[in-house]
């Protein structure tokens, strides 16, 4: 038993942190926030050059042949830095969907391209609010042509290709669609966190290639979401840490009633509670990371646990960071809202907290029954 990352993995994390703290300052994040760009293209290019999208792709498919544990520590740093890049969409969602659903020939063709950042992928699944119901999909495929509308597609406006969930002869499946091809139109949506922008994708007879190895699509989607839930949990705890550090720094430096604001118990206890929530979320995320990397049967429960506690912790840390700042925390100028927005956005990708709590309980009872 060993409940910690290895020295090599910690080294990768340290390098990622050093790189992002110099290249991805909040001033730079704000360029995307303010709508100057849909994502930070130069930063994404650097991230591609560092090989991060290739982390969990096998060497013979153009990847680095590392694993999910290495991807988890990178995720924590991307979350800490609020990186405004399509890493979640392209790496956790599109790449993983292809790893799970594409056949060998498709993987051999697509994964090297994703690893090298030759195109950016996204996942287009959601059509309306609420949990995805495979029986209710309105997006259909007929003779290789896909039609329908997808919404809340993360980085859908800038991605090159989308993995689209659709039905063909009433059978749900995943399809790869080139978003620059004819029959595709897309619209940027106003998103709560503009650094994780959403889009609506409209398909009208767009050419679509079926991911050829999708057998049990429900199981595939569950696994895809569980994997992404663990990776997002690491982004979330990175964000928790950053929000807590920001609140600490501000209240240690600020004085009221002749004392440091951080010396008041009301503030100290608030930070202690933020730390506790973060540590619980971190420990649950570690467990999820192990289950993910070992492809263990405990992944479904571990992923749901990691997700629920990461959602709660980031919400708590980001809102209490605003509170600890007082009025300045409510201004556009201060960065508090960047974390608050990001906490909201990350909690909603893959379905919100009530959905995941229900999954958690179902899985807990299933294990108990087994």
């Amino acid at each position: 038993m060993n409940f910690d990352f290895s020295e090599d993995q910690k080294f990768i994390q340290e390098q990622a942190r050093n790189f992002l703290s110099s290249e991805c300052t909040t001033a730079r994040v704000r360029q995307t926030l303010e709508g100057e760009q849909a994502y930070d293209q130069p930063l994404w290019q650097q991230i591609v050059e560092l090989g991060w999208p290739a982390t969990a792709i096998a060497e013979d498919q153009g990847g680095l042949g590392l694993g999910y544990l290495e991807l988890c520590v990178i995720a924590e740093e991307l979350g800490r830095a609020l990186a405004p890049v399509p890493f979640i969409a392209s790496v956790y969602l599109a790449t993983e969907a292809i790893k799970l659903g594409a056949d060998k020939a498709q993987q051999d063709s697509w994964l090297p391209q994703l690893a090298a950042g030759e195109w950016i992928g996204c996942l287009a699944a959601q059509e309306k609010p609420g949990a995805l119901k495979l029986g209710q999909l309105a997006t259909t495929v007929t003779a290789g042509k896909l039609s329908g509308k997808k919404t809340a597609v993360l980085h859908g406006a800038i991605a090159d290709k989308a993995v689209v969930l659709a039905t063909e002869n009433d059978q749900p499946g995943l399809y790869l669609v080139d978003l620059s091809a004819s029959g595709v139109s897309r619209k940027s949506l106003t998103s709560i966190d503009p650094t994780l922008p959403l889009a609506e994708l409209n398909f009208d007879g767009a050419a679509a290639e079926k991911l050829a190895d999708c057998k049990d699509i429900q199981t595939l989607l569950d696994t895809l979401y569980d994997r992404a839930a663990v990776l997002l949990a690491f982004e979330q705890i990175g964000g928790c840490d950053a929000a807590l550090a920001m609140g600490k720094e501000y209240t240690v430096g600020r004085y009221a009633f002749g004392r440091q604001v951080a010396s008041f118990q009301a503030i100290k206890h608030k930070f202690a509670d933020m730390f506790v929530a973060t540590e619980l979320a971190r420990s649950n995320a570690y467990y999820g990371a192990w289950a993910l990397s070992a492809d263990d049967a405990e992944l479904p429960l571990a992923a749901a646990t990691a997700r629920v506690s990461a959602i709660d912790a980031y919400y708590q840390c980001s809102k209490e960071n605003i509170q600890a700042h007082g009025g300045m925390g409510f201004t556009w100028e201060f960065d508090c809202h960047l974390y608050y927005r990001r906490a909201q956005a990350l909690s909603l990708i893959l379905g919100g907290n009530p959905q995941w709590k229900e999954l958690l309980v179902e899985r807990l009872l299933r294990i108990k029954a087994a």
């Binding site: 807590l244 930070f271 509670d273 506790v276 619980l280 420990s283 570690y286 009530p354 709590k357 309980v361």
Partner: protein, 407 residues
């Protein structure tokens, strides 16, 4: 990262499982609590049995009655014993707190005679720190020890001492100098609890039970050879004991989740198990994330300890979260039982009235071993590095510190 056993650990687990199968008592469906006296007798017998088999105090060196194994082996042991109805954490204060203090400060002769007897629970130990006027501010303690010849004469009172009524020895923190500031004037000893000058009186708690005691010292004697550390070095020694306590109680602290999970599957409301109720499922999910988070945090801490570290102040979080959760779960369980939730009869209430008893005992857990508020201060100051509380007694000689109505 690997959450599974190594081959050697798996072998140890198999060996423990086999031993427990023939020696431990299986859990009954009802679970629940037994009377205090019965629990004590059972614990004594169980610890002796564990000692004879060589599994007592797994991390202690063999010459002191331990098994010479690692923290990870101890986790495996605890995980396996938890599957049975046996009192694995009963003497945790002696073995977890007092044991390491002896190991660090006592003479070799004291260690080889006393520690094995502690490991087998032949001798029971208690910890005498808190006083009526020294709770959260434990360094404000007033029990006085004065050196006469080669003996220290002790006068004063301790309170909230678990297990004092059964104890042969206690680790005690005394005031030995009132002329210096409060943190500098304390000294730690171990004391013979079975002498005439020591009077143990049970405290009747709000739940009707008497887990804790008051202990009065009236010219009790301690040979100077039983001093633990330097004269005036008591505070540092006490911090060492408390650091070991974090390690000892990790994984022992109840959070109420397993009992609650059992309850929601068996308790029926309107003909259906309450676990089918979406509101209950929401609570179940939240508490499970905390329960799993405490467990995984403990394992992370033990990994660090196995690599040679000491548990940091962040270990306070398990106690803080677990104690609050334990109370809230008990309250919620009663609410689920509706009108019948107020019934405390063992024979009628689920799990031998576990939740009814818990709801009344839980406030004590939030106070014992550091209140919720003290735990938050520890995390804020020692982990996060936030400014310390302003102290009105800073730099004052102990005798000059205002004491209000506490004497």
């Amino acid at each position: 990262m690997d959450f599974k056993d190594t081959p050697e650990q798996a072998e140890f687990r198999k060996e423990v499982q086999a031993w427990l199968k023939t020696n431990a008592t299986a859990k009954t469906k009802d679970g629940g609590r037994t009377s205090q006296e019965e629990a004590y007798e059972r614990a004594k017998a169980w610890y002796q049995k564990v000692y004879d088999a060589g599994y007592a105090c797994p991390t202690w060196p063999k010459e002191y009655g331990g098994a010479g194994l690692t923290q990870i082996h101890k986790v495996i042991w605890s995980q396996e014993v938890a599957k049975y109805d046996e009192p694995d954490g009963y003497f945790v204060i002696g073995q977890g707190n007092c044991g390491p203090a002896l190991m660090h400060f006592a003479s070799e002769e004291q260690k080889t005679t006393l520690l094995p007897r502690m490991a087998s629970a032949e001798d029971v130990w208690c910890q005498l720190f808190s006083e009526p006027s020294a709770g959260s501010d434990v360094a404000g303690l007033r029990t006085k020890a004065e050196l006469k010849g080669d003996k220290w004469i002790v006068n004063g009172q301790k309170i909230w001492t678990s297990g004092a009524q059964h104890s042969d020895y206690g680790v005690i923190l005394c005031r030995t100098d009132t002329e210096v500031s409060k943190y500098r004037g304390m000294t730690m000893f171990f004391i013979d609890m079975k002498q005439p000058g020591v009077d143990v009186q049970p405290i009747k708690q709000m739940d009707g039970g008497s887990h804790f005691n008051e202990v009065f010292f009236n010219n009790a004697e301690i040979p100077d050879s039983q001093r633990l550390g330097e004269v005036g070095g008591g505070w540092g020694a006490a911090l060492l004991v408390l650091m070991n306590e974090r390690l000892a109680i990790s994984g022992v602290q109840p959070d109420g989740f397993p009992e609650f999970f059992e309850l929601v599957q068996t308790l029926e409301l309107d003909g259906e198990p309450v676990v089918n109720n979406p509101v209950v499922r929401d609570r179940l999910a939240i508490w499970y994330t905390q329960h799993a988070g405490i467990k995984a945090s403990t394992n992370r801490m033990l990994t660090a300890v196995a690599k040679g570290g000491m548990p940091g102040a962040e270990a306070a979080l398990g106690k803080l979260v677990g104690a609050v959760m334990n109370q809230d779960i008990a309250n919620y369980a009663l609410q689920l039982m509706a009108d019948t939730g107020a019934i405390c009869d063992d024979a009628l209430a689920p799990q031998k009235a576990h939740f009814q008893k818990s709801v009344l005992f839980a406030p004590g857990i939030r106070l014992a071993g550091g209140t919720d508020e003290v735990m938050r201060n520890i995390i804020a100051e020692q982990v996060l590095g936030l400014p310390q509380e302003p102290r009105a007694d800073k730099g004052m000689a102990f005798k000059d510190i205002p004491s209000g109505n506490q004497h």
